[in-house]
């Protein structure tokens, strides 16, 4: 019988989040009170709650993550940069940045690269950029092409999908790992609700898993 993974060990490879329209300050407080019992890699919250969450996470080592133009990627480069600057001011450690998916689907890869490059420039190495690939809406050819652009823009972490109905498929984790070896940190996201699912993603090459149902994912660990 295989040894069960320890909860602490698993938590280190998980990112949890409370990103929704109707989230209140009290929801955040309750959420952080519960989650900070475990050494998660990171916690993502909407921009208005970064400052509060930073304070609540003080001393835990859990990284604070900000969503940028999330999840549609319909915001302009200028707005993304403004959001990123705000996230830096409030002490966020990482930013999950949506790409210009319309430009990808229109074959305008120059625009995709320009947008991400300008975001990376604005980050001034003060915040780690994670590019949200959004693989479910891309063809395999587009996935590879965009991963190359992400690398060219200087980004070394990819969140495969945003969640919110766009889920990471195991084959997409495999594809990125196979094509790009160790060039990227790969984060699986969307629909990961059990320990087994998370462990499968890790086995296929994911470095981190995002889950909003962290209790369920930790349940199968000892």
């Amino acid at each position: 019988m295989e040894e069960k993974i320890k909860k602490e060990e698993l938590a280190k490879k998980l990112i949890t989040s409370l990103i929704e329209s109707n989230v209140t300050e009290n929801d955040i407080k309750k959420f952080i009170r519960e989650t900070k019992e475990y050494p998660f890699h990171g916690i993502a919250v909407d921009l208005p709650y970064l400052e509060l969450t930073k304070k609540l996470l003080h001393g835990t080592g859990i990284r604070l993550i900000a969503p940028i133009s999330y999840p549609l990627g319909g915001m302009t480069t200028e707005t993304k940069i403004r959001q990123l600057q705000y996230a830096i001011e409030k002490g966020a450690d990482e930013a999950n940045v949506s790409l210009n998916y319309s430009a990808i689907k229109s074959g305008d890869f120059a625009k995709v690269l320009d947008d991400l490059k300008r975001v990376v420039e604005a980050a001034k190495s003060k915040i780690e950029i994670v590019a949200v690939l959004q693989s479910p809406i891309l063809t395999n050819e587009e996935k590879v092409k965009v991963c190359n652009l992400i690398f060219d823009a200087g980004v070394r972490a990819i969140k495969v999908a945003s969640g919110f109905g766009w889920n990471t498929r195991p084959e997409d984790v495999m594809l990125i790992r196979r094509e790009f070896r160790d060039k990227f940190r790969i984060e699986a996201s969307g629909g990961i609700r059990t320990t087994e699912q998370a462990l499968e993603m890790f086995a296929l090459g994911a470095d981190l898993c995002h889950t909003s149902t962290w209790q369920k994912v930790l349940e199968g660990a000892k």
Binding site: E20, S21, N22, T24, E25, D46, P48, G74, R82, K105
Partner: protein, 223 residues
């Protein structure tokens, strides 16, 4: 067959022809703009990344460019929302549809709702503003409160929904919004409206603008 209570031209003039899909291509946006011209829709409602393209395509047209702001989560600080609104105006938007911070409303943080709507109106510099409530997440009481704040802050319209959550616009909510706002402000019904019958029912309930991705079908379906 629908009763002819309104002409096609009149109905088209109330429609925001909408495309906010994550994978909308430049060609899709072109088609949207051409249709809006052909059918005389009030506006094309699009994500901010598409404003420059729509601006170019609709040069000299009466069709307005309506930007969807804070989409579709809405949880952004007021200063970020105001920045995005200014950016949209600078790029050529004629109308600004902004989702409120729903969580702040629920928490009774009316100061935040007021601040973000004031920032939107300020950034709009006289252009049309529409405050989106996402009614499916709200109680009637919260809807009334948000309408009152929007009115007080000088917004042009209150709008039911983003279209990203179900249910979208309902007759009950449109009526409630119209009752609360009186006649001096606009009410935009959006989300889940796909037929002429639905559109007319929303107008009957008090809406004077319709947000829909089915504008062509709606106009063609009006007898």
């Amino acid at each position: 067959m629908m009763k002819k209570s309104i002409t096609k031209y009149e109905l088209a003039g109330m429609i925001d022809h909408t495309l906010l899909k994550i994978d909308a291509t430049y060609d899709n946006i072109k088609k949207l703009c051409l249709e809006a011209e052909k059918y005389h829709f009030a506006s094309v409602a699009i994500n901010p990344i598409h404003i420059p393209l729509a601006k170019k395509l609709l040069k000299g047209s009466r069709v307005k460019i309506c930007a969807a702001l804070a989409f579709y989560i809405g949880a952004y600080p007021p200063e970020i929302k105001e920045y995005e609104a200014r950016d949209a105006v600078a790029k050529g938007a004629d109308e600004l549809d902004m989702l409120i911070n729903v969580g702040a409303l629920k928490a009774g943080r009316y100061d935040i709702i007021e601040e973000e709507i004031k920032g939107l109106v300020r950034a709009a510099e006289g252009k049309i503003t529409k405050v989106i409530l996402e009614t499916c997440l709200l109680t009637d009481e919260e809807i009334v409160k948000a309408c009152q704040i929007a009115k007080k802050c000088g917004a042009s319209f209150v709008k039911t929904s983003t279209g990203f959550r179900k249910p979208g616009a309902t007759i009950h909510h449109v009526k409630l919004m119209r009752e609360t706002l009186g006649t001096g402000m606009g009410v935009k019904a959006a989300g889940g409206i796909h037929t002429a019958e639905q559109a007319l029912a929303m107008i009957q309930a008090g809406a004077n603008r319709i947000g829909t991705s089915s504008g062509v079908e709606i106009i063609e379906g009006l007898e």
